[in-house]
């Protein structure tokens, strides 16, 4: 078997706060192959965004990577120096953030922000950098890119801004794009367009994609595989069809049941009882047990997540065909 | 917030305040300085303005010189043979007196005007706030200088000028908080009960405007003291007969070039200590009284 493009091993990202250490990411592991799309799903506060930022060493203090490895093409990015990381950022691994209103600098023109991204990695002239920027804008479906280059972010709509951000991410044809909820802040129709375009662009260029989201519906339409996170850990992972059809972890199941489109008309939406736990005060063992209908004494010990295939971290998983029968 | 603990707001305030060691030190220094100023007559080894106690032979003695009267001039003497250590106590008194009085007057005027603006609203509010804006767009020192140029010299005139400079800050502060409070239900209720206007303003609106006012007033006392010193240095402030710290420093200006540094240095240090102490207390009060502003 060939080496995966990205292998995250037992990643730990901690935040030192006055109230104690918050283990935002607590032993996350996953693989991502070339050209593959992995959906990383979880509620806000589950550590999914921090996981994405940890890969590129972009976690701001007081957060820090406390342990684990991030092997990108065999090279550990956790121990790599800032200079080495800089050479990878934007060139081999690009990132797209959630809020397109916030990701483009409001006081710099789109041209400035694109050209600097080109020049950060390639020694080309300004004219060449500008030409590439213009082409990139055209590729993400922005009309009259020549004129739009001179514009400032506030002159674009939200969807257009996110396209600009995607164009910037694609400038160097990276091997991997980390997308942190890039469609959450957009209208549903625009969301669908962007999803489609990103998928096409990645397939065309062979770029792998880590799509961080809270929205299982988005992932099911886009991803090859999915990993579900809860309280800093992956609780279930597997090929998208397997997980959607037969979720084994009670949390994954709860998430799926609360997606409106999957419920039948007239049947009330089910939601997961209880609240997202405080990351400072997690129960011993399985973090989901206070909200779980199946929890018992066994859950005081954290179950391991087996490697490969469809795997789950639970002592009392649902049956493989349970969901099918219910629906 | 839990109601389990029985604690008066004042006590909680004191405890929150005490959590900053720097602020506590500032407060302690401030209290000491105030006591020294009030009891200057008792604490100072010499009454620097009683000519009988001065010995012209002791003029411009460097710090640490033993004086004719049998005690040491720890901070040296000025050209009149005045003990600087004593002169500083008396100077502090004038400086604090001017600063605090001016602040109190400005506070009274500013609160009245600001409250009126908030309560009356409409054109009255517009006119008052426009005036406040225009005044605040000019530097305090410029306004004070012009006023003193018109009024002439004197402690009372300096106080008037400083109050005239400051009132606008309070007016704006009070109006801001009063406007927020005015929209709240308890004021509506008071109005429905047809309570007299002055009662609503004094008993209901004013107490809620107090926290920001206290913060602004603390910082403004420091400003007033610094401004008074500056005006006195420029020769348009207090008269020579009632020298403040600024006046003492100004009198040291002439001796500075000949190397007699102490006449200007020590009163300046005293001034600095007072201002820093007030600012530290003010900063902490702001943090404690208004957690939203702390960052």
């Amino acid at each position: 078997m060939t080496q995966p493009l990205l292998r995250v091993e037992n990643l730990q990202t901690h935040f030192a706060t006055r109230a104690g250490t918050v283990k935002a990411v607590d032993g996350v592991s996953f693989d991502l192959r070339r050209g593959e799309i992995l959906g990383l799903v979880g509620e806000s506060g589950s550590g999914k965004s921090v996981t994405g930022q940890s890969i590129l060493g972009l976690v701001d203090p007081p957060g820090r990577i406390a342990g684990g490895r991030v092997l990108f093409d065999g090279e550990d990015l956790v121990t790599a120096g800032e200079k080495r990381l800089r050479a990878i950022r934007g060139r081999r691994i690009a990132m797209i953030f959630q809020d397109p209103m916030m990701t483009l600098n409001p006081v710099l023109s789109v041209e400035t922000q694109m050209v600097e991204a080109v020049l950060a990695h390639d020694k080309v002239g300004r004219a060449e950098a500008r030409r590439r920027s213009r082409d990139a804008l055209g590729r993400v479906g922005i009309a009259s890119p020549e004129e739009r280059l001179a514009a400032y972010p506030h002159q674009f709509s939200g969807g257009m801004r996110q396209r600009v951000a995607i164009a910037i991410a694609l400038l160097h044809s990276p091997d991997l794009i980390l997308a942190d909820e890039p469609t959450t802040a957009l209208d549903v129709t625009i969301q669908a367009q962007i999803l489609f375009e990103v998928q096409t662009l990645c397939r065309d260029t062979g770029t792998a994609l880590l799509w961080v989201t809270h929205d299982l519906a988005v992932v099911s339409a886009l991803a090859d595989r999915v990993a579900v996170m809860y309280a800093g850990r992956i609780v279930e992972t597997g090929p998208i069809a397997d997980v959607i059809q037969a979720p084994r972890h009670p949390y994954t199941r709860g998430l799926l049941d609360s997606v409106p489109s999957r419920n039948r008309r007239g049947v009330p939406l089910r939601s997961i009882p209880g609240m997202t736990p405080s990351v400072l005060d997690l129960p011993k063992g399985c973090a989901f047990q206070p909200r779980c209908g199946r929890a018992d004494a066994a859950c005081a010990v954290m179950p391991e997540l087996p490697e490969n295939g469809h795997a789950w971290r639970c002592w009392h998983p649902h049956d493989a065909d349970a969901r099918g029968a219910a629906a | 917030m839990s109601a389990a603990r029985e604690e008066t707001p004042l006590r909680r305030l004191a405890r929150d305040f005490a959590r900053s060691r720097v602020a506590v030190i500032g407060l302690a220094v401030l209290v000491l300085v105030m006591l020294a100023a009030v009891f200057a007559q008792v604490v100072a080894p010499q009454d620097p303005y009683d000519l009988a106690q001065l010995d012209i032979m002791d003029s411009l003695q460097p710090p640490g010189t033993a004086g004719g009267a049998g005690w040491t001039y720890w901070l040296g003497t000025d050209d009149q043979g005045r003990d600087l250590w004593s002169a500083i106590f008396f100077g502090l008194r004038t400086s604090l007196e001017v600063g605090i009085l001016a602040t109190l007057i400005a506070l009274a005027v500013g609160v009245a005007v600001g409250m009126l603006a908030a309560y009356a609203g409409g054109a009255v509010d517009g006119a008052i706030m426009r005036l406040v804006d225009i005044q605040l767009s000019f530097p305090a020192i410029l306004i004070a200088l012009i006023l003193l140029a018109l009024l002439g010299k004197g402690v009372d005139k300096v106080i008037v000028a400083l109050a005239a400079v400051q009132w606008a800050y309070y007016a704006r502060t009070v109006r801001g908080s009063a406007l927020v409070e005015r929209r709240k239900e308890y004021v509506e209720a008071a109005r429905c009960l047809a309570l007299p206007h002055h009662r609503i303003m004094l008993r209901h609106l004013l107490p809620n405007c107090l926290p920001p006012l206290i913060v602004v007033a603390t910082v403004q006392v420091a400003h007033a003291i610094a401004l008074e010193a500056t005006l006195s240095f420029l020769g348009v402030g207090v008269p020579v007969t009632e020298p403040s710290l600024g006046m003492l420093i100004a009198s040291g200006y002439g001796f500075m070039l000949s190397g007699n540094y102490w006449v200007a240095l020590f009163p300046g240090v005293a001034l600095l200590v007072v201002i820093v102490a007030i600012n530290l207390v003010g900063d902490r009060l702001r943090d404690v009284l208004n957690p939203r502003l702390s960052h």
């Binding site: 800089r86 934007g90 959630q98 710099l108 | 000019f138 018109l150 190397g259």
Partner: protein
């Protein structure tokens, strides 16, 4: 853009008109105009003549019209002490003050922004704390005392720099400037530092607060994710954003620096219009005081206008906000 400028010009005109009324009221209604406009040394006959000549026996609105008329014509009376037109006297001193004020602003910006950036990027470092403590001290220190201490240290004790005056000047555009000669520059250093101290503290605070806010924004993280060097992230992405509040406040503060140069000029015997103002106040040379006041008001209004224009150039959201949707 033209609409914007026109609107601002109208606002400025209103402020100037308001100030003219205030100054007029200050002199003619509150104070005794005879004292203000006629030399205290004049005898009875001279006084009577002057009262008639100045129209002080006329009704208030006629006086106001005359005041405005002569003020617009640049006639603000004759200095009692120097015997020359007051406005000309103040204008003649203006370049010295402007030079000092600009030097101080330059110092405040050149030192304050890097220091504030540093303190904002590393708020918990030793350097960050030292910078912030320094800025608190800078706020608390009275300007005139700092000036005296500077003279004491660098002029009297160390003898490195001159204690006062403008030194040798050279002509540029028909005006004398100190910064063009070596000697003049040496004379400029201490007063400029003195005048800059307070503004430096202000710039540090603004830059630090701005940096702390901007550094947390997603666009900074996105800039880093593009693989940009720290120098570019800080020097372009963060700096350009914090420049907006800094420039606005600084522009508005230029007026206050000119006003505060009264103190520094007095300490360093710098022959600017601030020193002239103090001398005139002490010598009861009131026409000069009035001339200084009106000129300063005008200056303030112009500065506010220019700041607004610069501000709109720095921030594309404002520059283009009115034009396109």
């Amino acid at each position: 853009m033209i609409v914007f400028i026109l609107r601002r010009l109208t606002q400025s005109a209103v402020v100037i008109a308001a100030m003219a009324v205030l100054v007029f009221t200050g002199i003619f209604a509150i104070g005794n105009p005879i004292d203000v406009l006629i030399s205290p040394e004049a005898d009875e006959v001279e006084r009577a003549a002057a009262i008639a000549r100045l129209g002080l026996d006329q009704p208030m609105h006629v006086q106001f019209a005359r005041f405005v008329e002569s003020a617009v014509g640049g006639d603000l009376g004759t200095s009692f002490v120097h015997g020359v037109p007051a406005l000309g006297l103040v204008l003649q001193r203006f370049p010295a003050t402007l030079e000092l004020a600009l030097a101080a602003m330059l110092l405040a910006v050149l030192l304050g922004i890097p220091l504030g950036l540093w303190a904002g990027l590393k708020p918990d470092s030793v350097a960050g704390r030292v910078i912030m403590t320094g800025s608190i001290l800078g706020f608390s220190l009275p300007t005139f005392w700092v000036g005296m201490m500077l003279i004491m240290a660098f002029a009297v004790q160390l003898g490195w720099l001159p204690a006062g005056g403008r030194g040798q000047t050279a002509s540029l555009f028909g005006v004398q400037w100190s910064f063009l000669t070596r000697d003049g520059l040496a004379h400029l250093i201490l007063p400029a530092i003195n005048l800059a101290t307070f503004k430096l503290s202000l710039v540090i605070r603004l830059a630090r607060a701005g940096t702390r806010e901007v550094a947390l924004q997603d666009y900074v993280k996105f800039a880093r994710a593009k693989g940009l060097s720290p120098a570019r992230v800080v020097g372009v992405h963060i700096l350009k954003n914090i420049m907006i509040p800094v420039v606005t406040v600084l522009g508005l503060e230029l007026g206050s620096v000119i006003a505060f140069s009264v103190v520094t000029e007095s300490v360093f015997a710098w022959p600017g219009m601030g020193k002239l103002l103090i001398e005139s106040i002490l010598q009861l040379d009131r026409p000069v005081v009035v001339a200084y006041l009106l000129l300063t008001v005008l200056l303030f209004v112009v500065i506010n206008l220019v700041v607004d224009l610069i501000y709109s150039m720095l921030d594309p959201r404002i520059r283009l906000g009115g034009g396109r949707a």
